[in-house]
Amino acid sequence: MRPTDYTLKGALEALAAGETTSVALTEAFLDGIARLNPRLNAYITVTAEKALEAARASDARRAAGQAGPLEGAPLAIKDLFCTAGVQTTAGSRILGGFVPPYESTVTANLLRDGAVFLGKVNLDEFAMGSSNTTSASGPVENPWSRANDPDTRLVPGGSSGGSAAAVAARLALGATATDTGGSIRQPAAFCGIAGIKPTYGRCSRFGIVAFASSLDQAGPVARTVEDCAILLKSMSGFDPRDATSADLPVPDFAAACARPVKGLRIGVPREYRLDGMAPEIEALWQQGLQWLRDQGAETVEISLPHTKYALPTYYIVAPAEASSNLARYDGVRFGLREAAKDSDLRDLYERSRAKGFGAEVRRRIMIGTYVLSAGYYDAYYLKAQKVRALIRRDFEQAWGKVDAIVTPATPSAAFGMDERQDDPVTMYLNDVFTVTANLAGLPGLAVPAGLDAQGLPLGLQVIGKPFDEEACFTVGAAIERAANFTALPGIRA
């Protein structure tokens, strides 16, 4: 078996059995990155030396009988997580050259458990996007391509496009990612891998470059549901440095993957059946529900009546928070500074921010500034907060009837890098199935479930109750077993 073909779980077992070493795994991934990254552009920064050093230290710890739960596993880190001593760009020119002197809690947790970091992976600028085409480091290519049109390069989805592409192309065993409106689940679905956005508060946001504070959550992407469970277990946990971090015990998520779905009630929200939805998405959804029924679950139609308002709500709340969160990028303490010869401070701010932020980020800052501005707050922001409350209430009412909800993950398969770039709203519709979980703070897991007619992966989504990621893992693993998704992308190490 080639080392890059291991699942995370398989690699950890092989390491434990002495069949491989962290150094061997790390070298294999670094070799794959060296060969494929020039095309895929999944990594922004490859820390080869650091990774090998960490792998050697890991092998030594294992030899000394001090192996952690992720001991020796090479991972990719989304470049939104601050990593001490390693450049962190958030995919933006404005953070070019920024080297944080501190480590995010999530990455610190992974290091504590023995993980090895291969480098920092690409993303949409400040995690704003669904195609990973807005990065200052250039677009990421999806390792999959259409069977009948292999030359059209496809997007990996976004914003965690680098994370998903790296994992799908076997350039890491797993990766960290973040999800504000679908940024874990949509790219996971586009790249044929699994990913989970946990409950808001499950993973600490400390040290993660903020996009929209009330929506951002970290989570893993990996090749299997169980790999996600293993990673999430390490990434999660109470952090006193994040006031919104939940002070709750972290369950054994991997154990939940093995539980039967028999007797579980699976909600099927009628409002997710969109007008003009692609027939193969609808077919995949029905197939997924049938698999669950075959394993003894019960499917129940439910109503989430405010679903159609979720995206517009999101496009008020997220830009508003972003406009404030991104005010700190002003060219004074870190990052890009742009000034004319006689710039005063105001001009320096305006030039630095105009040059440092890309078009999509500027657009969202503008929208966010507008919806919070005097005279418009009530009509936009306050209204959106109220609709958000209704969306959360829809789910609360559903939990009386069901244990988990299953929906499609995305309205389509991956699209071409040149497609859908003209109209922002069309791009925003990518997140139509995922964004409700962010607004309501709920866990949502994407699992690859099939291929479309062109051979591209399609995913299903499992939404769980607050802090019931276990249900997502149980149901997701059941779909994964039934789907027996064995297709592979054309480009892989």
Binding site: F81, P100, Y102, S104, F206, P240, D242, A243, S324, S373
Partner: protein
């Protein structure tokens, strides 16, 4: 009789409200673990949170919340068990996050009141609108470089209480009295050190003028005035400016102004194009601040005695209202007095503290926090008078020696043999000697010149080096003159 300023069109009334920023006494900042001490090296008390680095998050300091609650209780205000932080968004060189975390819609403290007293003894209640917690900004230095300003973030994130008054003040004196009283209350509570020259308290002064019987006219805000004196000056200067504008047919524009302490005038601070739109919204990094009533009750039970209560207690102890006022102005003075007075005659203690002791402070340019004589030693001196070890007159000499040497009064009296003579035999001998040497005066006395009695007493005291017990000397003189 109310205060007015006469313009060319007649008298104008003043309407004044204050927003006071008071730095909370705490070890660490409102949302970070960096220190708050004054005067540290630039940027040495800065965490990545205070510097607005990517991914940094605020975590609130319990003590800062407790201080705000204590202050609210001290201002007789409602404590809001549910409050929330909001972001106030604006760009400024010393505002690293690009927003200030403050409390806009739901402050921790609601309405309260402060009673002020004016020079003529009139009392007036000034309403408190609210008190909220917020972060301080950093500091810009403009005099270090010809083309640049330098930014020091040591203050960034330090907890402030913004205390907003109702527009209840009507004269510079009332504004000054309110600020002084507020400062006094906060210092008693131990929630703000009140060091205005270190910026621990700054006032934004809202001033408008009007003709008698009118509603409010447009107000202007004079920012960051940092002493009681300057507040009074700024009120008057701004009121006179507005009167001139109105009387010359102009209109006062609502704006933010600065008080130029050199020239004694206010001037416009920000141009109009910078008109602020703060885009407040709930701080998503912080859940609501929910307090337990039992915690508030605990804080209330542990509040120190406040100036008004203490003053009343001193009057009840027999002090004059004036002495009670003077002794309670600063809590350190009150504490000094209490130590001196403990277990002793309060009136006498007050006389000594406000008399010889204050005189010494003035003369030596010392402060109550650095007294030339400790309260314990001053108390011991009073004991020596009370048990007749020394006379009140000798005590004054001992007090001076205490200042010079720092020694305890007992030791001084011992060393220098200043102990009062109460031995009747010795006194009788001294009196007999004086009478013998002044036979002529004795004769005059006996022929009716009563006034000479004091002469014999004085001569005896002199002969005894001032150490004779005055009562005994009197008694013996009377007896021997018989």
């Amino acid at each position: 009789m109310s205060y007015t300023i006469d313009g060319t069109t007649g008298p104008w009334e003043l309407v004044i409200g204050l927003e006071v920023h008071a730095q909370v006494i705490s070890q660490s900042k409102l949302f970070s673990g960096a220190a708050t001490a004054f005067g540290a090296e630039p940027n040495s008390q800065v965490s990545f949170v205070d510097a607005g680095f990517p991914g940094m998050l605020p975590v609130i300091n319990r003590e800062c919340v407790a201080q705000a609650v204590r202050t609210g209780l001290g201002l007789n205000a409602e404590i809001n068990l549910w409050s929330r932080f909001d972001r106030k968004n604006y760009f400024y060189a010393d505002l690293p996050q690009g927003y200030q975390i403050s409390q806009y819609a739901h402050p921790i403290v609601g309405q309260g009141a402060v009673e002020i007293e004016l020079a003529d003894g009139t009392k007036k209640t000034i309403g408190i609108t609210r008190l909220h917690l917020e972060q301080d900004a950093g500091k810009s230095l403009h005099d270090q470089h010809p083309q640049k300003s330098f930014i020091d973030l040591n203050r960034s994130g330090v907890a402030l209480m913004e205390i907003v008054s109702e527009p209840d003040m009507r004269s510079p004196e009332e504004a000054g009295a309110y600020l002084s009283k507020l400062r006094q209350i906060l210092r008693y509570l131990g929630t703000c050190d009140g060091n205005m020259d270190e910026g621990s308290m700054r006032a934004d002064v809202n001033v408008s003028v009007r003709k008698a019987g009118e509603g409010y006219r447009t107000r202007c805000e004079v920012k960051n005035v940092n002493s009681v004196k300057f507040v009074m000056q700024a009120v008057e200067a701004e009121a006179r400016r507005q009167i001139e504008v109105w009387e010359s047919g102009g209109t006062v524009e609502q704006e933010t102004r600065l008080f130029d302490t050199q020239r004694g005038i206010t001037r416009s601070m920000r141009s109009k194009e910078d008109a602020h739109d703060y885009r407040y919204f709930p701080e998503p990094d912080l859940p609501p601040l929910v307090l337990e009533q039992s915690w508030v009750d605990q804080l209330k039970a542990s509040l120190p005695e406040l100036p008004d209560a203490r003053r009343a207690r001193y009057v009840a102890m027999g002090l004059t209202p004036y002495d009670a006022h003077v002794l309670t102005l600063e809590k350190e003075t009150a504490a000094f007095f209490e130590t001196v007075a403990k277990g002793r005659d309060a009136k006498q203690a007050a006389n000594w503290v406000t008399g010889d002791f204050f005189a010494a402070l003035n003369r030596l340019k010392r402060d109550i926090t650095d007294p030339p004589v400790t309260a314990e030693n001053l108390g011991a001196l009073l004991d020596l008078i009370a048990d007749s070890t020394i006379s009140g007159k000798i005590a004054k000499d001992v007090f001076e020696i205490m200042i010079e040497t720092g020694k305890a009064p007992g030791a001084i009296v011992e060393e220098r043999g200043l102990k009062q003579v109460t031995d009747t035999g010795a006194i009788e001998a001294a009196v007999a000697d004086v009478l013998a040497k002044n036979a002529d005066k004795v004769a005059e006395y006996r022929s009716g010149k009563d006034k000479l009695f004091g002469f014999f007493v004085g001569q005896t005291m002199k002969a005894m080096g001032g150490k004779g017990n005055p009562a005994l000397v009197n008694e013996v003189v009377r007896k021997l003159l018989g």
